[in-house]
Symmetry: C2
Subunit: 136 residues, 2 copies
Amino acid sequence: MDSKIVNLRSKMEVYKAISGGGNFANCPVRDVIQGVSGKWSSLLMMALTEKPYRFGELRRLVPDISQRMLTQTLHDLQRDGYVHREVFPTKPPSVEYSLTDLGHSMFGALHQLILWAELNHDAVRDARSGFDAMQA
Amino acid sequence: MDSKIVNLRSKMEVYKAISGGGNFANCPVRDVIQGVSGKWSSLLMMALTEKPYRFGELRRLVPDISQRMLTQTLHDLQRDGYVHREVFPTKPPSVEYSLTDLGHSMFGALHQLILWAELNHDAVRDARSGFDAMQA
DNA sequence: AGTGCTGGTCTCTTTTTGAGACTGCCACTC
DNA sequence: GAGTGGCAGTCTCAAAAAGAGACCAGCACT
């Protein structure tokens, strides 16, 4: 029993998804996973799921992100259409970041992975320490 | 309407998940996402979902991965308990990689994201080219 | 004796990340 | 009117990670 997923994909379907059908730059899976894969992307998406945040708020919410990476990650998320950036002309101009519909939709899928991570983190940690013990 | 996800998590819950409750090294989300986030991890998991593969087969299946990264990614996946590595004492010894139960379980969650990626790739690409046009 | 397959490791270069100093603007305080 | 602090970044430089590709041992076949 190779899990239900196998029933959904033939060998060629898997290969096509992996390789992008020969056009690697255009492979959906790689392209989208790449966006999530950043060290900070998923964390920022999680935060913005709750409510829009300003630059400085996000910085405080994720204390160990550098300003440079916060700027860049938000920029990338905006470019991919997940995040909306709005500047308010207040005295010190403030910038608010919020999830777009596409962002919410994407997070719905990502959320499955987050839930799994929370549920199975112990199993992963055990596997890891077991593996490390073997090597030693 | 901030999507149903908001109903599932209070501000503190989000923060705890993001920060790992102050223990950053131990944050489940970061820890697991980190594993998926590698450029090749999800691709190899997809391939192994179908059936076990040998080193050289994987290399041919994902043509633009370097041997170094294939070795290392498989090693990491094995360490996290997603992949099982078995050496067969054939004439030129062959090595087979297969998904563990944990790996299958994890891929189930990851699969949601893959499906989303395939469905919404066009939207992401449109957002991206629109954004790039704005900047130009 | 040469070729090719196996599953890797080693070294070198390029790319990506991270830490943190620096900027310009404004408001408030002394 | 000089200093302090918050805002949203940019810039530079060092460190870490990824990628390319040469190299390795062992065996089989020719």
